[in-house]
Amino acid sequence: MAISRKNVLSVFIILLCVAGLSLTASAADKLKVGFVYISPIGDAGWTYQHDLGRLAMEKNLGDKVETKYIENVPEGPEAERVIRDLAKSGYDLIFTTSFGYMNPTLKVAKMFPKKRFEHSTGYKTSKNVGTYMCRFYEGRYLTGIVAGKMTKSNTLGYVAAFPIPEVIRGINAFTLGAKSVNPDVKVKVIWVNSWFDPGKEREASEALIAQGADVITHHTDSTAPTLTAEEKGVYAIAYHSDMSKYGPKAHLTAATHVYGDFYTRTAQSVLDNTWKSEQVWTGIKEGSIALAPMNPVVPADVVALVEKTRKGIADGSVHPFQGPIKDQGGKVVVEAGITLSDKELLGMGYYVEGVLGKIPK
């Protein structure tokens, strides 16, 4: 073939196409996984744990996955836009990590039937949307045991965000755990009506401490309750992550969430084409809930009791919500020997005995 300009050009174009095809072929091998976060990773709490899970997944699956995260996405139309952008850019598996992303996720999933979505803490699924949640209440029950044993004033403080079943379940599990070792204990709850506002969380913690609470825990996203407890010389039990460096003397332990295994399993199932939509609710047994290391001030017998209970939850012999459970009025709502079902847990809307105050409507 004569070396004319046209021939060189055609060969060049063919080479380019081959290169491009091989590139896309290898790119197609990589699974692109997207993560949508409600708050910054630096919250050292909820999103931080999700991101640790993402990093664990990257480590486990190496070259097979490529991840991207977008943080600080408010719930609502902005979330829909972000999820849609991810789906459009070729992300085949998308994790949306906040309750309020439920409807945006379902909406975008309908537009992209070939992509898969996993919505955290939600309850609606579809053909290509699954949900996942950790049995946070198991961690709460264990931390309740620690709180019940460590309190001297028998008043525990709880800084809570919004009165949704998940938060109420956590309060109840904490109370039941504390009462199982200390029947006289009482739990005061303050609602800050925000998942994340360090100033308000500090003010609520201060109010609880002023009213006699000497162990503070929280269902909010910042480290403010732990910091405040440290400042005021009382104890704190953190949530989401180990916050001991914000309160070395105060921080007893924390109920942390571990997402690495779940993310790895789910991504692998997409790679193997075995993914299906389901409602996953995992706990201590599957490794989704772990306690942060105990403060040395916690006596050895308490540590042993917590470990024994933890093993009991893992093998199914202990369940935080097994009867008899009384409501605030003293009436038995769960008989002895009966354990609340998942469905009843998901819709929990009442306080157990020992919690002070009423649930805001």
Partner: protein, 309 residues
């Protein structure tokens, strides 16, 4: 409710109101000169992260305060150039600066989110702090809270008892007349805006270094907007701004205590309470029409064109 808790609420209210005091008093001076600076929230955030970084690196409160004030002033400088030299719309520029401040502070703070600072100690005045009730209430605060009270005194004196303050207010009322008298309207407004930015920065520093000694994105959580509203509802009078600031902080603290006591008011209603109560109280004390006309700067928000006389 026993006296001890009441004292704790009052003490906490003073601390809670302090960021509002700084930001609102600074904005008051800016608005008295006729400039509407809506960028307070962004300036507080940038001040907060700058002060936090300075404190983390140097351990000195003074350095942190200076850095925070400088950062706030620099943001205000951008605003001043936009609105006073380039004659851009004040509202739009202020909003843009808020958005910019939110993003800039988050960006600067990326590496600092898991550092815990030791906080600012309460001052112990030898004899006065030990007085049973008044001692705790009045004499056991940290230095930034006392500085805010000094600031209030200074601004009250400056605005109403000094010649410079009179000129400032005159510029806010009638810039054309002030110009005719030979005063440098643009120059003085620059100073007022920079001062407001520095105070907003200081309010932010207080939040991130003393109040909750940590940094998280957006930790000012809307306090800048509340400060803006306080200035308006207090009809531009320093004493009423202070009252509004402490009232707001106080009711925020009180509503948490109310929840803790188990009193059955829905928490969402209680969350609204600080805003509603402050608006109602300030509107009631400032409803004298004559007083409003007397105190609101007539040229507020209007772009001043020095050459269009």
């Amino acid at each position: 409710m026993d006296g001890d808790i009441l004292i704790q609420i009052l003490v906490a209210s003073i601390a809670a109101g302090t960021p509002f005091v700084y930001a609102a008093l600074g904005e008051l001076v800016t608005e008295k000169s006729g400039v509407l600076n809506l960028g307070v929230e962004g300036m507080m955030l940038v001040g907060a992260i700058s002060g936090f970084i300075a404190m983390a690196k140097s351990g000195s409160l003074l350095v942190a305060v200076l850095c925070g004030m400088t950062a706030g002033a620099l943001m205000a400088l951008i605003f001043a150039v936009l609105t006073l030299t380039l004659m851009a719309n004040q509202v739009a520029s202020g909003l843009a600066l808020t958005i910019f401040g939110v993003g800039l502070s988050a960006f600067l703070g990326l590496k600092y989110t898991s550092i815990a600072l030791p906080g600012v100690p309460e001052l112990h005045i030898p004899f006065l702090s030990d007085i049973p009730v008044a001692g705790q209430l009045l004499f056991s605060h940290d230095i930034l809270i006392y500085s805010s009270l000094v600031l209030f005194g200074f601004i009250s004196w400056f605005l109403y008892k000094s010649k410079a303050g009179l000129i400032l207010r005159g510029i806010g009322e009638a810039p054309k007349s002030a110009h005719a008298l030979g005063y440098n309207v643009i120059g003085i407004r620059y100073l007022a805006v920079l001062f407001g930015g520095a105070m907003a920065g200081l309010g932010g520093v207080y939040l991130s270094v003393a109040y909750t000694p940590m940094w998280v994105e957006g930790m000012v959580a809307g306090r800048g907007w509340v400060a803006l509203a306080l200035v308006v509802f207090a009809s531009w009078r320093p004493l009423r701004v202070m009252a509004g600031a402490y009232l707001f902080g106080g009711i925020t603290i009180a509503q948490f205590h109310i929840q803790g006591f188990g009193i059955e008011i829905p928490s969402q209603l209680l969350s609204m309470l600080p805003y509603i109560a402050t608006i109602i109280v300030l509107v009631l004390i400032s409803r004298d029409q004559k007083s409003i006309r007397l105190n609101s700067p007539a040229s507020l928000g209007l772009t001043y064109h020095p050459n269009n006389q």
